[in-house]
Symmetry: none
Subunit: 225 residues, 2 copies
């Protein structure tokens, strides 16, 4: 089963850890726990959680300090930090946002509320990170970096090559006509000779191998499935 996400809960009280863990696990999250910031940081490095629930008041390394360190580390650029805080600490809440936290939840923790808040935050996250990339066969075609990953191997394509491959791979198996390819990759107004597409196809095949792009004579090209 695919989980909803990974959450690291950090609090010095064992009761709370257990209570929160229980409720999160019931909702389908993978949960890890730590008793303080010092313990949490290396653990977070290892598991790369989607969200960290962080008590403000803790011995050894408190929540604010931990939060600052997390936010300074590019490994955690995509990690949300949510504070757990007692009502009395309202001022700390505001401090918390200065340290870069994304939200806070007040104690005493009410399970239903906790869950709906976390769902809302994580939903926001998945919405924000638009995945401009395609995974097909053993290829990972990454629009962010304009790279093709095949296992450990990284292959750099020129722009037109990339756009062409990206188009074909966006619907594996579908045959794209030359006209359609020209319109999408080159733009409607551009006038180029037919051989131009062939040459680009060839370059891609040269770099990736022949097994990805197939020719359908008289029709066009497709990404082989």
């Amino acid at each position: 089963m695919e989980t909803n996400g990974k959450i690291l809960v950090v609090d010095d009280e064992a009761d709370i850890l257990e209570f929160v863990s229980y409720n999160l696990k019931k909702e389908g999250y993978e949960v890890w726990t730590a008793m303080n910031g010092q313990e949490a940081l290396p653990l977070a490095k290892k598991i790369k959680p989607d969200l960290i629930l962080l008590d403000v008041m803790m011995p050894v390394m408190d929540g604010l300090e931990t939060c600052k360190r997390i936010k300074a580390d590019s490994d955690f650029a995509k990690t949300y930090v949510v504070f757990l805080t007692a009502r009395a600490e309202e001022y700390s809440e505001i401090e918390g946002f200065n340290s870069g936290a994304d939200d806070y939840i007040a104690k005493p923790i009410k399970p239903k509320l906790l869950i709906s808040r976390l769902n809302a935050i994580l939903r926001r996250k998945t919405k924000e990170i638009v995945s401009p990339s395609i995974k097909v066969k053993d290829l990972f075609i990454d629009r962010e970096t304009f790279m093709i990953h095949r296992g450990e191997q990284k292959i750099q394509l020129a722009r037109k090559e990339f756009e062409l491959l990206f188009l074909l791979a966006s619907k594996p198996g579908k045959v794209f006509t030359r006209d359609y390819i020209l319109e999408k990759v080159w733009g409607e107004e551009v006038l180029v000779v037919d051989r131009t597409i062939d040459v680009h196809i060839r370059k891609i095949r040269e770099k990736l191998g022949d097994e990805y792009i197939g020719t359908v004579k008289g029709v066009g090209y497709k990404f082989e499935v």
Copy 2:
């Protein structure tokens, strides 16, 4: 003066509208108000607010209904909806998230908390995550001092150089287009020649070495991972 963002406040109580408006305006937001959902929707269409503060309990069209309509409209895909709710309505809060709201704030409203919550939400939206410093590879990029630390070595960059490196390093591996770089580092209105970016890139490479910033021809620059 540039404003922090546009907020539409919807509540049936004039007192609350005034109280909230006053506090938001003081913080540099542009504020509009409406007394119910029916009034709010066409207004929202017109002003395209960044965020809508919505009372749950209202006559004519209540918050939940309004929220659902907003979230169903693609014009508001980027608009955050935050509920205002009385403590007693806890169950409604959860309902609220089902209707697609992004957050909620409990009444009675405390100005400081209100502001910091909204700031946090809008910061997430506009700037993604602002961190005062970034750690990538062997570099520590420190916003406070505009210095780059590499082990014991300290390297001073000029402001534009720093901002440029900071931007690239904020998402290692991601390719940033020249247009995007211009908008973020130089500002939207500024008109500078393309070569300007190159020259700054060159300066950074001169000071740090060539291994950090990569070129993706036809696309832009990236921080190498």
